[in-house]
């Protein structure tokens, strides 16, 4: 039973973790919090349905096309429009604007696409697996595998490549990074593009589970936001830990207490972290 819950919790947490890492990267590079992050998951999910069901592209190209278009729209266009217009004014105007953007995306999808839930198949066949006494779906393992590959690639990029180190430098000392010749605006653009790719991958994992719907990102964005705060908003490893923890808390609460309390227990942990370790479990204190 516990192994089964662990796998299911990690599978759900893997989706949260990728979105939470996106929150973290945006904050580290630009000091901005994107409150439309949930809708940033919804958009690639709709794009996948559009490419696969409407344009009838084969499955893999449909997903790749959705990731590329998402990187352009949610990375490049987002940076060149809202971010460039608002970044000099600080985080609050950006937060308010992205809350409005979230409403705009949800309502536009309802009006111009559909309010109905749409089916999108999973990348691998969904088959029940048994390991010892644990019963779980092949999708659970797949989610963990895809998230692990994406996060390891991101980790290697940030830790090993020159551009990854430049991104770290901007996160640690933006002014000095500029003095050292790093184009800070391009690094922020890169963070938005990486975020867009991360949410697109999480959309590809979430779509077969949650169905593709205009409000599918609400819960995902909110839980990933909690996850980033719990793990540490300024540490990628913190966001990863936070995502996995939130997934595990939800699944264990649903199994042992009630599904109705699963969000409540996440909030209890969130409040405890804010009270006793406001920088998050793995986060570092920042001077404002």
């Amino acid at each position: 039973m516990i192994e089964q819950l662990l796998i299911k919790g990690l599978s759900l947490g893997a989706i949260y973790a990728m979105i939470a890492i996106g929150f973290c990267l945006l904050w580290q590079s630009s000091r901005l919090v994107n409150f439309a992050e949930g809708e940033f998951v919804t958009i690639p999910a709709f794009l996948m349905v559009f490419f696969y069901s409407v344009l009838k592209l084969p499955f893999a190209p449909a997903i790749i096309a959705a990731i590329i278009v998402s990187a352009f729209l949610l990375g490049f266009v987002m940076k060149k429009t809202l971010v460039d217009a608002l970044i000099a004014r600080g985080n609050t105007p950006f937060v308010v604007t992205t809350i409005a953007l979230g409403f705009l995306v949800r309502d536009s999808l309802t009006v111009f696409a559909t309010p109905e839930a749409l089916h999108f198949p999973s990348m691998i066949p969904q088959t029940p697996l048994q390991f010892g006494g644990a019963m779980f779906s092949s999708l659970d393992l797949w989610n963990i595998f895809v998230a692990a590959v994406v996060i390891v690639c991101l980790h290697l990029f940030i830790r090993k490549t020159k551009q990854g180190k430049a991104l770290q430098a901007v996160a640690q000392n933006r002014e000095a990074a500029g003095i050292m010749g790093i184009d800070v605006q391009k690094m922020i653009l890169m963070a938005f593009v990486i975020n867009a790719v991360l949410v697109a991958f999480s959309a590809s994992l979430a779509a077969p589970i949650y169905m593709v719907k205009y409000d599918m990102g609400n819960e995902l964005g909110l839980k990933a936001f909690y996850a980033a705060i719990i793990g540490g908003f300024n540490q990628v490893k913190g966001a990863l830990l936070g995502g996995l923890l939130v997934g595990l808390i939800e699944i264990f609460t649903a199994a042992y207490i009630s599904t109705q309390y699963k969000s409540g227990f996440v909030l209890i942990v969130l409040i405890a972290v804010i009270l006793f370790k406001p920088e998050g479990i793995l986060g570092t204190k920042e001077q404002l």
Binding site: F157, K162, K165, N173, A176, G178, M180
Partner: protein
Amino acid sequence: MKVFETRGLKKSFQEFSALKGVDIHVNEGELFGLIGPNGSGKTTFFNCVTGTLKCSGGNVFFRGKDITNKGPDAIYKMGIGRTFQLIEMFPRMTVLDNMLLAIQESQGSMFGRLLTMNEDGNVKRALDLLGFLKISHLRDEYSKNLSYGQQKLLDFGMVLMTNPKLILLDEPTCGVEAEMRQELMNYIRDLNKQGHTIIVIEHNMDVVMNLCTRIAVLDAGEKIAEGTPEEIQNNAQVIEAYFGTEEDEEC
């Protein structure tokens, strides 16, 4: 030949004028000193020149090009490097990574750097410089764990990584022990002999008087004197503004 010049450089912070039209020129190969009491605008001058702060008026020229209000990254790539009065580096990166970061943006394109790692040549140069600064044993230490003096040396090493044409040193020997201070002065002289143009802000009068061939004095955002060390030492206005008010100030 003038390599660097400011004409009527101004910087205001709301009502307060930190620089009130400063004219300074530095010739190629010169070792130029910029001194003045605390709050006279020396570091603000560096910040405006390097693009960290936007100038409120006037112009900055480097090698005949107007670089006024260009971004700090663009100015760095043109060949102006600087150290900081207060330590500015990347605290959760190792000493070696800090050194390598100082040079990587001057090489190749953004896309070229996207999936590449640092070259052996850069690593060798970084290790050579760390060796000279006697901090090579700290290469794998996070820079936040270094002492103030060690961080100052790292800051100096980072500037030297790119071999900049114009080097701005903001109190380079402050907080560094006497023996290393002498070595740093020798190294600054060597760099100058190799053809680097250097502007030094320094509080230690022994350092600035022994090091520089020409000195300008700022007071309350205005240039009040300019000349050789002897001329500055004997200038009544300077003595009143600087030596008269702050005797032998230690940083």
